[in-house]
């Protein structure tokens, strides 16, 4: 009963957000068509959120996701000119996988917080993006690939990723090992779980997802330009927040569903604030506060377990 109730918090938050904005801006907010556009955008960013799920569960952060998405999309875009669709997809995914692998290996070899290591790597990947770009400031994808970024394909792709993550989480040893490491790394190690291997695999998955998100996003926006000065990290936060919401609700509902709901909740909130004419800095304050509230409502740590 309690489980269901807590799970409903998220759905409730969605409904309340919608209703409040609808009342505030009955004509400008919440039409079916605008909700559909919102859903499409949210479906793209949720790919990245799913990718980072296993990492976040183990307490690892990958700030390179944004840079990875851009670099992979640039590589894919250039290859698509020569090889068409296979070039676009395979080129991007292999790039993403390689970057993920590098992240994973670096994190397991350098004994420092993954957050810091990955910020170092972001600088490298962003610059690599500039190099692969060649001279121009933006790349344009051929219009024949645009469908990939639109419904139904974008939705199909993200649902596919959702299914794969769900499957890995529930039906493979990998999923159990991630859970175990997230719960207690020392105990997991003593049970013979290979910590490094599990972490590197998780980074690999997040790399591939980031690349896929990059491609879909490129097809949706039609153009891409390289990022500099860590600007790519801003794209990481929304998926990261969606994923945190997913993890916060893990006990009460399926995290894969929760991530999707969380992602949509954040998009809805931002869209609603935008239609109410709030400037972007104010929007971000609201989004940040909303995230904190949601997590506070759901997290109820057993304090006596913390200190022995």
């Amino acid at each position: 009963m309690n489980k269901l109730k807590k799970g409903m918090v998220l759905v409730g938050a969605l409904v309340i957000t919608y209703v409040v904005f609808k009342i505030l801006q009955p004509s400008r907010f919440g039409s079916l068509s605008s909700m559909f556009i919102l859903l499409q955008q949210c479906m793209i960013s949720v790919i990245m959120a799913y990718g980072t799920y296993f990492l976040l569960e183990m307490g690892a952060f990958d700030m390179t996701l944004g840079a990875n998405a851009i670099l992979s999309a640039i590589v894919g875009c250039r290859l698509s000119v020569i090889f068409g669709l296979p070039g676009l997809l395979i080129g991007a995914l292999i790039t993403g996988a390689c970057l993920g692998l590098v992240n994973g290996i670096m994190t397991s070899k350098i004994k420092a917080p993954s957050m810091i290591i990955s910020v170092g790597l972001v600088i490298i990947y962003e610059s690599l993006g500039l190099v692969v770009m060649g001279g121009g400031s933006t790349l344009r994808i051929d219009s024949q690939f645009r469908g990939l970024g639109m419904a139904p394909w974008s939705i199909v792709i993200s649902l596919m990723i959702a299914a794969i993550i769900f499957f890995l989480d529930r039906y493979t040893c990998f999923g159990v090992h991630v859970n175990a490491i997230g719960s207690s790394e020392p105990i997991a190690r003593s049970m013979g779980i290979n910590i490094n291997k599990t972490k590197i695999t998780a980074f690999l998955i997040s790399g591939v997802c980031a690349a896929l998100m990059g491609v879909v996003n490129l097809c949706y926006n039609t153009t891409i330009s390289a990022a500099t000065n860590l600007s790519s990290t801003t794209t990481v936060f929304q998926p990261l927040m969606a994923c945190m919401i997913g993890l916060a609700f893990k006990k009460h509902m399926n995290p894969i569903v929760a991530i999707l709901l969380g992602s949509f909740f954040l998009a809805l909130l931002q869209n609603g604030l935008l239609t109410n004419g709030l400037e972007s800095s104010m929007q971000n304050i609201f989004v940040g506060v909303a995230l904190l509230v949601v997590i506070k409502v759901t997290s109820n740590p057993r304090r006596y377990d913390v200190i022995k």
Partner: protein
């Protein structure tokens, strides 16, 4: 003859820092035998068995199981070789289901065409629970939903499901109720009847004698003796465990000295769910008050509670007539309480800061002028303070993690001395410390006492308590179970009888 031996340990060594936890132990455990393993806290029995179960790697020495060389890499590996252990601490993984906890490290068993067969896992976990007649546990539920005892029983199932050749049970009975104990005993006898062996570690000597065929006694990391349980009495075992005389000059030698009758600290009805029950006592000026008990008796929590670090405490602490907030560390420090925790590495020191900062951290308010904190003043202050306890260092800018255990402890003490605290709560002050520093700390305690400081010493070492305390309170299951006044005739047996 050789077929008789299930597990053979040859000259095992394990050192933690400067402490020899296990020092050259060789041991045979026969097939179909229930072996008790007893010794004081810190005698190395848990460390020894953790090495057998693959939780720790021995520094040197070798092991065999049924004559085959055996060097477990981790717990799951040990399980494959037929050795499983139930450890003292809670060892379940939060946020995972009961079934996942039972089979963690053995998931391979349920992989079917690359898929995890959840149904089979749940069914098998349920069978194990039913086989051991443990009811009221849903294998699909999150493990957090269950109490400590239930989680321990789940660990029991985890240890038993591999049908171990050697089952090690470390200090598990204390958290189990009568019913849970019955299950545990059943499991032990079943293991014995199938020709396998059990090692049973407990402080409850009566239980050990009732249950075991033979008992091995350890002291200071070494084997004392292995005796048959038949015809042994608890007292015989105790004297084997203790087995040494008081070392005179090491501790204080004054007896019958009068302490002041002025109450400095008055504790009334201190409660902490599951850890402390209505603990009340007084601390007098210039008194060294010892607290003893088993490690889970609540005495370590008591120290934390007095300093405001423990959660969920209720009750009152009155300091020289003024009631202080027992949830505020800040107030405790302000009132002149200094606390030296048991876990020096994690709770007492900032390891990646220098000695200077570690010492000055308690005295910032005294050192700063307005908002300005003079580095020179800080350095001089730290140097002066460090000299008081003769900390072995190059200079105060040396990092704390480079120091030995004894010197780290000196830094911890210095930071409270520097602040001018007058009530000290010292939890296991000589744990893992070399003999020289130990003697120095004992001298320091006497000095502090003479200066009018009041000191609470919480220790698992009974000799230490007898040696330094003016008065000793024994805790058992969160209650005060005995009080002893300093006397020449006080023996460890007296204290132990109140502890267990």
């Amino acid at each position: 003859m050789e077929e008789q031996v299930m597990v053979h340990l040859q000259d095992l060594h394990k050192t933690f820092g400067s402490t020899k936890a296990v020092d050259g132990v060789s041991l045979d455990i026969d097939k179909g035998e229930i072996r008790g393993l007893v010794g004081e806290n810190g005698s190395g029995k848990s460390t020894l068995m953790c090495m057998v179960a693959g939780l720790l790697k021995p520094d040197s020495g070798s092991m065999t199981v049924e004559g085959q060389p055996y060097a477990p890499q981790h717990q799951a590996h040990a399980n494959d070789k037929g050795v499983s252990m139930i450890v003292q601490e809670v060892n379940t993984l939060a946020g995972m289901t009961v079934a996942e906890n039972i089979f963690v490290g053995h998931e391979q068993k349920f992989i079917n065409h690359g898929l995890r067969d959840l149904k089979a896992m749940f069914v098998e976990a349920k069978e194990y629970l039913e086989e051991m007649q443990i009811s009221g546990i849903n294998v699909k539920s999150d493990i957090d939903a269950y109490t400590l005892e239930q989680r321990k029983l789940i660990e029991l199932v985890r240890a038993a499901h591999i049908k171990p050749k050697l089952l090690i049970i470390d200090e598990t009975t204390t958290v189990l109720s009568q019913k849970g104990r019955a299950e545990l005993y059943k499991l032990i006898h079943k293991t014995k009847d199938s020709g396998n062996s059990v090692v049973f570690i407990s402080h409850d000597l009566r239980e050990v004698l009732d249950l075991c065929d033979s008992v091995t006694v350890m002291r200071d990391g070494q084997l004392v003796d292995t005796v048959s349980a038949r015809g042994m009495s608890e007292n015989d075992l105790k004297s084997l465990m203790v087995g040494r005389d008081l070392v005179g000059s090491y501790y204080r030698e004054d007896y019958g000295m009068l302490t002041s009758s002025e109450v400095v600290l008055e504790v009334r009805n201190l409660n902490c769910p599951g850890k402390l029950n209505d603990v009340s006592f007084e601390l007098y000026r210039g008194e060294i008050l010892g607290f003893g008990g088993l490690s889970e008796s609540g005495m370590h929590n008591l120290g934390k509670a007095l300093f405001g670090v423990e959660y969920n405490t209720t009750g009152s602490v009155t300091l020289e007539g003024e009631t202080i907030n027992i949830h505020s560390i800040k107030e405790a420090i302000k009132s002149g309480i200094g606390y030296v925790p048991k876990d020096r590495e994690h709770e007492a020191l900032i390891n990646n800061a220098d000695i200077l900062d570690n010492i000055c951290i308690t005295c910032m308010d005294q050192l700063q002028k307005g908002v300005y904190l003079s580095p020179i003043k800080k350095k001089n202050f730290a140097r002066e303070q460090a000299r008081r306890l003769n900390i072995k260092m190059n200079d105060v800018d040396q990092f704390v993690y480079t120091l030995s255990g004894g010197n780290k402890q000196k830094v911890t003490l210095t930071k409270w001395l520097a602040r001018g605290a007058n009530i000290f709560v010292l939890d296991s002050p000589t744990r893992g410390i070399d003999v020289m520093t130990k003697a120095m700390i004992y001298d320091l305690l006497t000095c502090m006492k003479n200066d009018g400081c009041s000191i609470i010493v919480i220790s698992e070492e009974l000799l230490e308590l007898i040696g330094v305390s003016d008065r000793i309170l024994i805790l058992k299951n969160g209650n005060i179970s005995g009080e002893f006044v300093r006397s020449k005739d006080l023996s460890e047996e007296d204290l132990v009888s109140c502890m267990i």
